[in-house]
Symmetry: C2
Subunit: 247 residues, 2 copies
DNA sequence: CGACCGATTGACGACCATCAAAGGTAGTGG
DNA sequence: CCACTACCTTTGATGGTCGTCAATCGGTCG
């Protein structure tokens, strides 16, 4: 596993290979994709409800979130996105965006034109399946969150979310030795899990007291993966990783 | 709008056309799909976590639900499926199923072999986009449920769910005059919205008292669509219907 | 008629929300 | 180098929405 910062194309391929086996030829085709690099600051909207973008956004560095707000102004974070993810892949087939995507840390983004992606899919039909599969895996994550937020108590819920992040970061090489960057604030964790910021703070304190996590600034450390997995009732089946990626 | 019971292929086409425009040729191709009809009773599992099916399931009559259960045995219903839906379309690209699908009323199902769907997609690449789009719309529904269950109070939450069902049934011609079949029990509504069965019962009583809904056995009637929409903060954008379908 | 399933009601309590304020920490600018 | 500011974290007090437990009612079907 490379520990040096990968190039945008390497990162994209590494992520895709965690859920779909790619041939050498397909990887070369992906490597030829034009990608436009952009840096953004924390708390910047990348895509907004109602937009009709002509490009997709690949996360290269930093975290972003997808969210929606109710009429009363309550925000639900629907998913967190980490390097290697393409949070708005759906815009390839859903013209009008129905969600918002924003950075929750400084980010480096890579924009890929829809037309380039479509062309790639035409020439390499297996890549159509790969991208489709990626959107299906994200749908599966939404479902797991629905279960998590709907049926599990706050403690388990937050433990589960941390497990998911560790797992998703690990497949792109960003969670070695149980340590990873986790720039989300407690308010953001709260909006993601559907509990209040105050209660999130209290639950995190208990998780720390129980020795399941420890934090230094935005670094999160998981000393005992099995214990945390158990506390969060975490089973990674829903991430649909292929075996080589989890090994 | 036809009121006679449509054939399986007519129903499938009607549903697909609500989110994707089909050419005459494409409709003919869909009409040629082999579909195996099966009748099942209430509360029967159709697909189970861990299965690796070689076919997809088209709902022809009745309601089904997708669900998951926590380690503590709490069930979260992740989505309700109505005639015209293919709840396990994802199995085309995610080999191992990570959810359960069960009937919540007597159902007539139509099974379509994966190989037939793949062949169809190869011959008609636009249909690939259509099916992909269908899975994206369902992902969008999961997201809206996440917002609904996470951030809205029980009253709004249930109103929203009823709005969604009315809308989705309407596009397949099953909700005329604000009346439709709604066979879900209160326990099932509870598991779908993440509140308890007892509280669901109380909220339904208030909704009835407020004149937003009335029920006779499994028939649900919505006397004032705009009032219910407002109570449920319902905006159908997330269903990504094309205009002709909503008119 | 009895069994079963779903709807309804009552009493009670807990988990978590709400409101408010105080500590910490990092970044900015004088 | 030290205010000053902004943001995040932490703490305390209070209460409400909703969960839990348990029982009854009502309709359906064999």
């Amino acid at each position: 596993m490379t520990t040096l910062a990968p190039t945008p194309h390497e990162l994209m391929i590494r992520k895709m290979e965690s859920i779909f086996p790619l041939s050498v030829e397909e990887k070369q085709a992906i490597s030829a994709l034009p990608i436009q690099l952009v840096d953004i600051k924390t708390n910047q909207d990348i895509v907004r409800e109602g937009d009709e973008p002509s490009q997709c956004c690949l996360i290269l560095e930093g975290f972003t979130c997808m969210y929606k707000v109710t009429a009363e102004g309550k925000r639900q974070i629907l998913s967190l996105y980490v390097p290697g993810d393409v949070p708005d892949m759906q815009s390839l087939h859903l013209k009008v965006i129905d969600i918002n995507i924003a950075s929750i840390s400084p980010c480096k983004l890579g924009f890929i034109q829809h037309k380039d992606l479509r062309q790639l899919c035409e020439r390499y039909p297996r890549l159509t399946a790969a991208f489709w599969r990626e959107t299906l895996v994200h749908a599966s994550i939404f479902r797991e969150w629905l279960l998590n937020n709907g049926q599990r108590p706050a403690y388990t819920r937050i433990a589960h979310l941390i497990c998911e992040l560790r797992m998703r970061l690990k497949v792109v090489g960003l969670a070695e030795n149980g340590t990873f960057e986790m720039p989300a604030t407690q308010a953001e964790l709260a909006d993601a899990t559907g509990i209040t910021q105050v209660h999130t703070n209290r639950v995190l304190q208990v998780l720390r007291a129980d020795g399941l996590i420890s934090t230094v600034k935005t670094q999160m450390h998981v000393p005992d993966w099995n214990k945390l997995k158990q506390a969060g009732e975490f089973d990674s089946l829903y991430l649909h990783l292929i075996k080589t990626a989890t090994a």
